[in-house]
Symmetry: C2
Subunit: 218 residues, 2 copies
DNA sequence: GTAATGTTTTACCAATCGGTCAAATTATCG
DNA sequence: CGATAATTTGACCGATTGGTAAAACATTAC
Protein backbone atom coordinates (compact mmCIF):
# COMPACT_ATOMS: atom_id res chain seq x y z
CA UNK A 1 0.00 0.00 0.00
CA UNK A 2 1.31 3.39 -0.93
CA UNK A 3 1.23 5.99 1.78
CA UNK A 4 0.81 8.98 -0.44
CA UNK A 5 1.82 12.43 0.64
CA UNK A 6 2.44 11.87 4.32
CA UNK A 7 5.41 9.59 3.95
CA UNK A 8 7.24 12.19 1.95
CA UNK A 9 8.03 14.11 5.07
CA UNK A 10 9.65 11.09 6.67
CA UNK A 11 12.24 10.25 4.08
CA UNK A 12 13.02 12.23 0.96
CA UNK A 13 13.94 10.36 -2.17
CA UNK A 14 16.44 11.51 -4.73
CA UNK A 15 13.59 11.57 -7.23
CA UNK A 16 11.57 13.75 -4.93
CA UNK A 17 14.31 16.34 -4.65
CA UNK A 18 14.84 16.44 -8.38
CA UNK A 19 11.19 16.65 -9.31
CA UNK A 20 10.27 19.20 -6.67
CA UNK A 21 13.16 21.30 -7.90
CA UNK A 22 11.95 21.00 -11.48
CA UNK A 23 8.41 21.90 -10.52
CA UNK A 24 9.39 24.98 -8.54
CA UNK A 25 11.57 26.14 -11.39
CA UNK A 26 8.64 25.83 -13.78
CA UNK A 27 6.28 27.39 -11.26
CA UNK A 28 8.60 30.39 -10.99
CA UNK A 29 8.45 30.82 -14.76
CA UNK A 30 4.68 30.79 -14.76
CA UNK A 31 3.74 32.55 -11.52
CA UNK A 32 6.21 35.38 -12.15
CA UNK A 33 4.46 36.24 -15.39
CA UNK A 34 0.79 35.68 -14.66
CA UNK A 35 0.49 35.92 -10.90
CA UNK A 36 -1.27 33.36 -8.78
CA UNK A 37 -4.79 33.70 -10.12
CA UNK A 38 -3.70 34.01 -13.72
CA UNK A 39 -1.52 30.90 -13.66
CA UNK A 40 -2.78 27.38 -14.20
CA UNK A 41 -1.43 24.06 -13.04
CA UNK A 42 -1.46 22.89 -16.64
CA UNK A 43 0.87 25.73 -17.63
CA UNK A 44 3.27 24.78 -14.88
CA UNK A 45 3.02 21.10 -15.78
CA UNK A 46 3.85 21.83 -19.39
CA UNK A 47 6.75 24.10 -18.41
CA UNK A 48 8.08 21.32 -16.18
CA UNK A 49 7.55 18.66 -18.82
CA UNK A 50 5.41 16.64 -16.46
CA UNK A 51 1.79 15.59 -16.29
CA UNK A 52 -0.66 17.52 -14.15
CA UNK A 53 -1.45 14.70 -11.74
CA UNK A 54 2.24 14.15 -11.37
CA UNK A 55 2.70 17.73 -10.17
CA UNK A 56 -0.14 17.23 -7.76
CA UNK A 57 1.61 14.20 -6.37
CA UNK A 58 4.42 16.45 -5.15
CA UNK A 59 2.34 19.51 -4.26
CA UNK A 60 -1.21 18.86 -3.21
CA UNK A 61 -2.59 22.15 -4.47
CA UNK A 62 -1.67 25.11 -6.62
CA UNK A 63 -1.40 27.12 -3.47
CA UNK A 64 1.11 24.67 -1.99
CA UNK A 65 3.37 25.23 -5.01
CA UNK A 66 3.06 28.97 -4.67
CA UNK A 67 3.78 28.90 -0.99
CA UNK A 68 6.80 26.63 -1.37
CA UNK A 69 8.11 29.00 -4.01
CA UNK A 70 7.58 32.10 -1.88
CA UNK A 71 9.23 30.49 1.13
CA UNK A 72 12.25 29.43 -0.85
CA UNK A 73 12.74 32.78 -2.55
CA UNK A 74 11.91 35.21 0.23
CA UNK A 75 14.97 34.52 2.33
CA UNK A 76 17.42 35.06 -0.53
CA UNK A 77 15.53 38.11 -1.62
CA UNK A 78 16.11 39.93 1.65
CA UNK A 79 19.78 39.01 1.80
CA UNK A 80 21.10 42.36 0.50
CA UNK A 81 19.15 44.32 3.09
CA UNK A 82 20.33 41.96 5.82
CA UNK A 83 23.91 42.63 4.75
CA UNK A 84 23.42 46.31 5.44
CA UNK A 85 26.06 46.94 8.09
CA UNK A 86 25.64 49.45 10.89
CA UNK A 87 29.39 49.55 11.48
CA UNK A 88 30.29 50.20 7.86
CA UNK A 89 30.77 53.47 6.06
CA UNK A 90 27.32 54.91 5.28
CA UNK A 91 28.14 56.01 1.78
CA UNK A 92 29.74 52.68 0.92
CA UNK A 93 26.91 50.69 2.52
CA UNK A 94 24.18 52.49 0.62
CA UNK A 95 26.14 52.38 -2.59
CA UNK A 96 26.72 48.66 -2.35
CA UNK A 97 23.13 48.03 -1.33
CA UNK A 98 21.95 49.76 -4.50
CA UNK A 99 24.43 47.81 -6.53
CA UNK A 100 23.41 44.47 -5.07
CA UNK A 101 19.73 45.15 -5.50
CA UNK A 102 20.35 46.14 -9.10
CA UNK A 103 22.34 42.97 -9.68
CA UNK A 104 19.46 40.96 -8.32
CA UNK A 105 17.04 42.73 -10.63
CA UNK A 106 19.33 41.79 -13.50
CA UNK A 107 20.08 38.22 -12.44
CA UNK A 108 16.78 37.21 -10.84
CA UNK A 109 14.05 39.11 -12.64
CA UNK A 110 11.57 36.27 -12.23
CA UNK A 111 11.90 36.35 -8.47
CA UNK A 112 11.37 40.09 -8.50
CA UNK A 113 8.25 39.76 -10.61
CA UNK A 114 6.93 36.96 -8.45
CA UNK A 115 6.85 39.31 -5.48
CA UNK A 116 5.71 42.27 -7.54
CA UNK A 117 2.74 40.29 -8.82
CA UNK A 118 1.90 39.09 -5.37
CA UNK A 119 2.09 42.51 -3.70
CA UNK A 120 0.34 44.24 -6.56
CA UNK A 121 -2.59 41.90 -6.11
CA UNK A 122 -2.88 42.72 -2.44
CA UNK A 123 -0.37 40.20 -1.08
CA UNK A 124 -3.09 37.70 -0.12
CA UNK A 125 -0.50 34.96 0.44
CA UNK A 126 2.36 36.83 2.10
CA UNK A 127 0.66 39.39 4.29
CA UNK A 128 2.10 37.78 7.42
CA UNK A 129 5.63 37.80 6.05
CA UNK A 130 5.32 41.49 5.22
CA UNK A 131 3.97 42.52 8.60
CA UNK A 132 6.30 40.19 10.47
CA UNK A 133 9.84 39.39 9.33
CA UNK A 134 10.01 42.06 6.63
CA UNK A 135 8.80 44.87 8.84
CA UNK A 136 11.17 43.85 11.62
CA UNK A 137 14.15 43.79 9.30
CA UNK A 138 13.28 47.16 7.82
CA UNK A 139 12.68 48.65 11.26
CA UNK A 140 16.11 47.49 12.31
CA UNK A 141 17.86 48.94 9.28
CA UNK A 142 15.86 52.14 9.48
CA UNK A 143 17.28 52.61 12.95
CA UNK A 144 20.78 52.21 11.54
CA UNK A 145 20.10 54.88 8.95
CA UNK A 146 18.59 57.15 11.56
CA UNK A 147 21.78 56.85 13.59
CA UNK A 148 23.82 57.86 10.55
CA UNK A 149 21.59 60.88 10.12
CA UNK A 150 21.99 61.85 13.76
CA UNK A 151 25.75 61.53 13.41
CA UNK A 152 25.60 63.87 10.43
CA UNK A 153 27.04 61.24 8.15
CA UNK A 154 24.22 61.49 5.65
CA UNK A 155 21.61 64.14 4.96
CA UNK A 156 18.57 64.30 7.19
CA UNK A 157 15.91 62.12 5.65
CA UNK A 158 13.19 59.59 6.40
CA UNK A 159 14.89 56.18 6.45
CA UNK A 160 11.77 54.25 5.43
CA UNK A 161 11.22 56.30 2.33
CA UNK A 162 14.89 55.99 1.52
CA UNK A 163 14.59 52.23 1.59
CA UNK A 164 11.38 52.32 -0.44
CA UNK A 165 13.01 54.46 -3.09
CA UNK A 166 15.95 52.09 -3.41
CA UNK A 167 13.59 49.15 -3.74
CA UNK A 168 11.47 50.97 -6.28
CA UNK A 169 14.26 52.22 -8.51
CA UNK A 170 16.20 48.98 -8.62
CA UNK A 171 13.34 46.52 -8.95
CA UNK A 172 11.86 48.72 -11.65
CA UNK A 173 14.43 47.29 -14.06
CA UNK A 174 13.14 43.77 -13.47
CA UNK A 175 9.43 44.39 -13.01
CA UNK A 176 8.98 46.95 -15.79
CA UNK A 177 11.56 45.46 -18.09
CA UNK A 178 9.32 45.48 -21.18
CA UNK A 179 8.60 49.16 -20.69
CA UNK A 180 12.24 50.02 -20.14
CA UNK A 181 13.17 48.15 -23.30
CA UNK A 182 10.36 49.73 -25.29
CA UNK A 183 11.32 53.25 -24.24
CA UNK A 184 15.05 52.84 -24.68
CA UNK A 185 14.53 51.20 -28.05
CA UNK A 186 17.29 49.55 -30.03
CA UNK A 187 19.90 52.19 -29.32
CA UNK A 188 20.50 51.95 -25.56
CA UNK A 189 18.70 48.64 -25.06
CA UNK A 190 21.91 46.63 -25.03
CA UNK A 191 23.37 45.10 -21.94
CA UNK A 192 24.88 48.45 -21.04
CA UNK A 193 21.44 49.27 -19.64
CA UNK A 194 22.32 48.04 -16.19
CA UNK A 195 25.63 49.86 -16.06
CA UNK A 196 23.88 53.08 -17.08
CA UNK A 197 21.22 52.52 -14.44
CA UNK A 198 23.82 51.79 -11.78
CA UNK A 199 25.77 54.92 -12.64
CA UNK A 200 22.65 57.07 -12.55
CA UNK A 201 21.29 55.65 -9.32
CA UNK A 202 24.60 55.87 -7.51
CA UNK A 203 24.95 59.48 -8.51
CA UNK A 204 21.37 60.27 -7.56
CA UNK A 205 21.53 58.69 -4.12
CA UNK A 206 25.09 59.71 -3.30
CA UNK A 207 24.50 63.35 -4.14
CA UNK A 208 20.96 63.26 -2.83
CA UNK A 209 22.05 61.97 0.57
CA UNK A 210 25.31 63.87 1.07
CA UNK A 211 25.03 65.87 4.27
CA UNK A 212 24.28 69.50 3.44
CA UNK A 213 23.98 71.63 6.55
CA UNK A 214 25.92 70.59 9.59
CA UNK A 215 29.21 68.80 9.08
CA UNK A 216 30.49 66.17 11.44
CA UNK A 217 34.01 66.19 10.08
CA UNK A 218 36.49 66.38 12.98
CA UNK B 1 -35.26 43.63 -35.61
CA UNK B 2 -32.59 44.77 -33.24
CA UNK B 3 -29.31 45.71 -34.83
CA UNK B 4 -27.06 44.56 -32.03
CA UNK B 5 -23.59 45.96 -31.60
CA UNK B 6 -23.12 47.78 -34.90
CA UNK B 7 -25.81 50.39 -34.38
CA UNK B 8 -24.17 51.51 -31.19
CA UNK B 9 -21.56 53.38 -33.10
CA UNK B 10 -24.16 55.35 -34.99
CA UNK B 11 -26.12 56.84 -32.13
CA UNK B 12 -25.22 56.53 -28.47
CA UNK B 13 -28.01 56.30 -25.97
CA UNK B 14 -28.00 57.81 -22.53
CA UNK B 15 -28.30 54.29 -21.16
CA UNK B 16 -25.29 53.21 -23.17
CA UNK B 17 -23.14 55.96 -21.76
CA UNK B 18 -24.19 55.17 -18.21
CA UNK B 19 -23.79 51.43 -18.45
CA UNK B 20 -20.49 51.53 -20.29
CA UNK B 21 -19.25 53.90 -17.62
CA UNK B 22 -20.42 51.56 -14.89
CA UNK B 23 -18.82 48.57 -16.55
CA UNK B 24 -15.47 50.26 -17.05
CA UNK B 25 -15.50 51.41 -13.46
CA UNK B 26 -16.08 47.84 -12.31
CA UNK B 27 -13.54 46.51 -14.79
CA UNK B 28 -10.95 48.90 -13.36
CA UNK B 29 -11.62 47.52 -9.89
CA UNK B 30 -11.12 43.96 -11.05
CA UNK B 31 -8.37 44.22 -13.67
CA UNK B 32 -6.24 46.46 -11.46
CA UNK B 33 -6.14 43.78 -8.80
CA UNK B 34 -5.93 40.53 -10.73
CA UNK B 35 -4.55 41.50 -14.12
CA UNK B 36 -6.11 40.44 -17.39
CA UNK B 37 -5.69 36.68 -17.14
CA UNK B 38 -6.62 36.53 -13.49
CA UNK B 39 -9.84 38.48 -13.89
CA UNK B 40 -13.14 36.98 -14.94
CA UNK B 41 -16.15 38.52 -16.62
CA UNK B 42 -18.29 37.24 -13.77
CA UNK B 43 -16.23 39.21 -11.26
CA UNK B 44 -16.65 42.37 -13.30
CA UNK B 45 -20.36 41.69 -13.75
CA UNK B 46 -20.83 41.29 -10.03
CA UNK B 47 -18.81 44.42 -9.29
CA UNK B 48 -20.95 46.33 -11.77
CA UNK B 49 -24.18 44.85 -10.42
CA UNK B 50 -25.12 43.56 -13.85
CA UNK B 51 -25.59 40.18 -15.46
CA UNK B 52 -22.80 38.66 -17.50
CA UNK B 53 -24.67 38.63 -20.80
CA UNK B 54 -25.56 42.23 -20.18
CA UNK B 55 -21.88 43.16 -19.95
CA UNK B 56 -21.25 41.29 -23.14
CA UNK B 57 -23.99 43.31 -24.80
CA UNK B 58 -21.84 46.41 -24.33
CA UNK B 59 -18.42 44.85 -24.79
CA UNK B 60 -18.25 41.83 -27.02
CA UNK B 61 -15.29 40.23 -25.26
CA UNK B 62 -13.25 40.49 -22.11
CA UNK B 63 -10.47 41.87 -24.21
CA UNK B 64 -12.70 44.63 -25.54
CA UNK B 65 -13.36 45.77 -21.97
CA UNK B 66 -9.67 45.73 -21.16
CA UNK B 67 -8.76 47.63 -24.29
CA UNK B 68 -11.44 50.27 -23.75
CA UNK B 69 -10.16 50.72 -20.23
CA UNK B 70 -6.53 51.03 -21.30
CA UNK B 71 -7.39 53.52 -24.02
CA UNK B 72 -9.41 55.67 -21.67
CA UNK B 73 -6.78 55.69 -18.92
CA UNK B 74 -3.56 55.91 -20.90
CA UNK B 75 -4.04 59.46 -22.11
CA UNK B 76 -4.71 60.87 -18.65
CA UNK B 77 -1.88 58.85 -17.24
CA UNK B 78 0.72 60.52 -19.42
CA UNK B 79 -0.63 64.02 -18.77
CA UNK B 80 1.98 64.96 -16.13
CA UNK B 81 4.86 64.04 -18.40
CA UNK B 82 3.27 65.95 -21.26
CA UNK B 83 3.08 69.01 -19.02
CA UNK B 84 6.85 68.92 -18.60
CA UNK B 85 7.85 72.30 -20.00
CA UNK B 86 11.13 72.91 -21.80
CA UNK B 87 10.88 76.67 -21.20
CA UNK B 88 10.28 76.36 -17.47
CA UNK B 89 12.78 76.34 -14.66
CA UNK B 90 14.40 72.88 -14.52
CA UNK B 91 14.29 72.56 -10.76
CA UNK B 92 10.65 73.65 -10.60
CA UNK B 93 9.65 71.44 -13.51
CA UNK B 94 11.16 68.31 -12.04
CA UNK B 95 9.85 69.11 -8.60
CA UNK B 96 6.30 69.59 -9.85
CA UNK B 97 6.51 66.50 -12.04
CA UNK B 98 7.38 64.42 -8.99
CA UNK B 99 4.58 66.03 -7.05
CA UNK B 100 2.00 65.42 -9.75
CA UNK B 101 3.02 61.81 -10.24
CA UNK B 102 2.82 61.27 -6.51
CA UNK B 103 -0.62 62.84 -6.41
CA UNK B 104 -1.73 60.48 -9.15
CA UNK B 105 -0.39 57.50 -7.22
CA UNK B 106 -2.44 58.70 -4.26
CA UNK B 107 -5.61 59.61 -6.14
CA UNK B 108 -5.64 56.97 -8.88
CA UNK B 109 -3.97 53.87 -7.47
CA UNK B 110 -6.18 51.54 -9.48
CA UNK B 111 -5.06 53.10 -12.73
CA UNK B 112 -1.45 52.73 -11.66
CA UNK B 113 -1.95 49.08 -10.80
CA UNK B 114 -3.78 48.43 -14.04
CA UNK B 115 -0.66 49.43 -15.97
CA UNK B 116 1.69 47.80 -13.51
CA UNK B 117 -0.13 44.48 -13.88
CA UNK B 118 -0.13 44.78 -17.63
CA UNK B 119 3.56 45.65 -17.95
CA UNK B 120 4.60 43.12 -15.35
CA UNK B 121 2.94 40.41 -17.38
CA UNK B 122 4.84 41.36 -20.49
CA UNK B 123 2.50 44.08 -21.78
CA UNK B 124 0.79 41.74 -24.26
CA UNK B 125 -1.99 44.26 -24.89
CA UNK B 126 -0.13 47.57 -24.92
CA UNK B 127 3.16 46.79 -26.57
CA UNK B 128 2.35 49.10 -29.46
CA UNK B 129 1.48 51.99 -27.18
CA UNK B 130 4.77 51.57 -25.33
CA UNK B 131 6.92 51.43 -28.43
CA UNK B 132 4.95 54.16 -30.17
CA UNK B 133 3.35 57.10 -28.35
CA UNK B 134 5.07 56.49 -25.00
CA UNK B 135 8.54 56.17 -26.44
CA UNK B 136 8.06 59.27 -28.58
CA UNK B 137 6.90 61.32 -25.61
CA UNK B 138 9.77 60.15 -23.45
CA UNK B 139 12.29 60.75 -26.23
CA UNK B 140 11.01 64.31 -26.55
CA UNK B 141 11.26 65.02 -22.83
CA UNK B 142 14.62 63.31 -22.56
CA UNK B 143 15.89 65.79 -25.11
CA UNK B 144 14.63 68.64 -22.94
CA UNK B 145 16.47 67.26 -19.94
CA UNK B 146 19.61 66.76 -21.99
CA UNK B 147 19.47 70.41 -22.99
CA UNK B 148 19.25 71.39 -19.32
CA UNK B 149 22.28 69.27 -18.61
CA UNK B 150 24.21 70.86 -21.46
CA UNK B 151 23.28 74.30 -20.14
CA UNK B 152 24.64 73.25 -16.76
CA UNK B 153 21.27 73.80 -15.11
CA UNK B 154 21.18 70.31 -13.62
CA UNK B 155 23.82 67.72 -12.92
CA UNK B 156 25.06 65.57 -15.76
CA UNK B 157 22.88 62.47 -15.87
CA UNK B 158 21.11 60.06 -18.17
CA UNK B 159 17.67 61.58 -18.82
CA UNK B 160 16.00 58.22 -19.46
CA UNK B 161 17.08 56.75 -16.17
CA UNK B 162 16.05 59.95 -14.45
CA UNK B 163 12.54 59.55 -15.82
CA UNK B 164 12.49 55.86 -14.92
CA UNK B 165 13.50 56.61 -11.36
CA UNK B 166 10.74 59.20 -10.98
CA UNK B 167 8.21 56.74 -12.34
CA UNK B 168 9.47 53.98 -10.09
CA UNK B 169 9.60 55.95 -6.85
CA UNK B 170 6.21 57.62 -7.23
CA UNK B 171 4.20 54.71 -8.59
CA UNK B 172 5.70 52.53 -5.89
CA UNK B 173 3.28 54.11 -3.42
CA UNK B 174 0.31 52.95 -5.48
CA UNK B 175 1.55 49.62 -6.79
CA UNK B 176 3.20 48.39 -3.60
CA UNK B 177 0.74 50.02 -1.24
CA UNK B 178 0.17 46.89 0.87
CA UNK B 179 3.90 46.51 1.41
CA UNK B 180 4.36 50.16 2.28
CA UNK B 181 1.52 49.94 4.79
CA UNK B 182 2.83 46.70 6.25
CA UNK B 183 6.32 48.09 6.75
CA UNK B 184 5.26 51.45 8.09
CA UNK B 185 2.79 49.79 10.42
CA UNK B 186 0.25 51.68 12.49
CA UNK B 187 2.62 54.50 13.48
CA UNK B 188 3.40 56.29 10.21
CA UNK B 189 0.68 54.60 8.18
CA UNK B 190 -1.67 57.57 8.43
CA UNK B 191 -2.40 59.90 5.57
CA UNK B 192 0.82 61.77 6.29
CA UNK B 193 2.49 59.00 4.29
CA UNK B 194 2.24 60.91 1.06
CA UNK B 195 3.53 64.15 2.53
CA UNK B 196 6.52 62.29 3.96
CA UNK B 197 7.14 60.61 0.63
CA UNK B 198 6.86 63.90 -1.24
CA UNK B 199 9.30 65.58 1.14
CA UNK B 200 11.80 62.75 0.84
CA UNK B 201 11.61 62.45 -2.94
CA UNK B 202 11.89 66.18 -3.52
CA UNK B 203 14.96 66.31 -1.33
CA UNK B 204 16.49 63.28 -3.00
CA UNK B 205 16.00 64.49 -6.55
CA UNK B 206 16.70 68.16 -5.90
CA UNK B 207 19.99 67.46 -4.13
CA UNK B 208 20.76 64.56 -6.38
CA UNK B 209 20.42 66.63 -9.54
CA UNK B 210 21.93 69.93 -8.41
CA UNK B 211 24.80 70.80 -10.71
CA UNK B 212 28.10 69.93 -9.06
CA UNK B 213 31.08 70.67 -11.24
CA UNK B 214 30.78 73.43 -13.80
CA UNK B 215 28.55 76.35 -13.01
CA UNK B 216 26.59 78.22 -15.67
CA UNK B 217 25.81 81.24 -13.54
CA UNK B 218 26.56 84.39 -15.51
C1' DG C 1 13.83 -13.29 -6.70
C1' DT C 2 9.52 -10.92 -4.52
C1' DA C 3 7.15 -7.97 -1.75
C1' DA C 4 6.55 -3.47 -0.28
C1' DT C 5 6.96 1.12 -1.42
C1' DG C 6 7.37 5.07 -4.45
C1' DT C 7 6.09 7.21 -8.91
C1' DT C 8 3.42 8.09 -13.05
C1' DT C 9 -0.46 7.85 -16.04
C1' DT C 10 -5.21 7.34 -17.79
C1' DA C 11 -9.64 8.45 -17.13
C1' DC C 12 -12.49 11.22 -14.93
C1' DC C 13 -15.21 14.85 -12.00
C1' DA C 14 -17.66 19.08 -10.63
C1' DA C 15 -17.00 23.90 -10.99
C1' DT C 16 -15.89 27.72 -13.57
C1' DC C 17 -14.42 29.91 -17.75
C1' DG C 18 -15.62 33.06 -21.99
C1' DG C 19 -19.27 33.51 -24.82
C1' DT C 20 -23.98 32.63 -27.53
C1' DC C 21 -28.96 32.62 -28.30
C1' DA C 22 -33.63 33.51 -28.24
C1' DA C 23 -37.05 35.09 -25.66
C1' DA C 24 -38.69 38.54 -22.45
C1' DT C 25 -38.63 43.11 -21.01
C1' DT C 26 -38.17 48.03 -21.30
C1' DA C 27 -37.47 52.50 -23.50
C1' DT C 28 -38.30 55.58 -27.47
C1' DC C 29 -40.87 57.80 -30.92
C1' DG C 30 -44.69 58.99 -33.98
C1' DC D 1 -51.88 54.36 -27.89
C1' DG D 2 -48.94 51.06 -30.98
C1' DA D 3 -44.81 49.87 -33.28
C1' DT D 4 -40.12 49.66 -33.47
C1' DA D 5 -35.78 49.55 -31.55
C1' DA D 6 -32.84 49.01 -27.37
C1' DT D 7 -31.89 46.45 -23.31
C1' DT D 8 -31.88 42.60 -20.12
C1' DT D 9 -32.29 37.91 -18.75
C1' DG D 10 -32.15 32.74 -18.20
C1' DA D 11 -30.78 28.81 -20.22
C1' DC D 12 -27.21 26.91 -22.34
C1' DC D 13 -22.54 25.54 -24.84
C1' DG D 14 -17.91 23.72 -25.34
C1' DA D 15 -13.45 24.49 -23.27
C1' DT D 16 -10.69 24.93 -19.33
C1' DT D 17 -10.15 25.02 -14.44
C1' DG D 18 -8.29 22.65 -9.91
C1' DG D 19 -8.28 18.33 -8.27
C1' DT D 20 -9.29 12.95 -7.55
C1' DA D 21 -9.24 7.63 -7.99
C1' DA D 22 -7.30 3.79 -9.20
C1' DA D 23 -4.57 1.17 -11.65
C1' DA D 24 -0.04 0.70 -14.14
C1' DC D 25 4.63 1.18 -13.68
C1' DA D 26 9.21 1.73 -11.45
C1' DT D 27 12.23 1.42 -7.57
C1' DT D 28 14.00 -0.15 -3.45
C1' DA D 29 14.68 -3.36 0.53
C1' DC D 30 15.20 -7.79 1.95
Amino acid sequence: MTIPRAAKTLRRTRIQEEKEERILEAALDVFSVSGFRGSTIDQIAEAAGMSKPNLLYYFRTKEAMHRALIDRVLFTWLEPLRAFDAEGNPEAEIRSYIRRKLEMARDFPRESRLFANEILQGAPHIEDELKGPLKELVDEKAEVIRAWVRAGKIAKCDPYHLIFSIWATTQHYADFDVQVRAVLGQNHAGEGRFEDAARFLEQLFMNGLRPRQASSAP
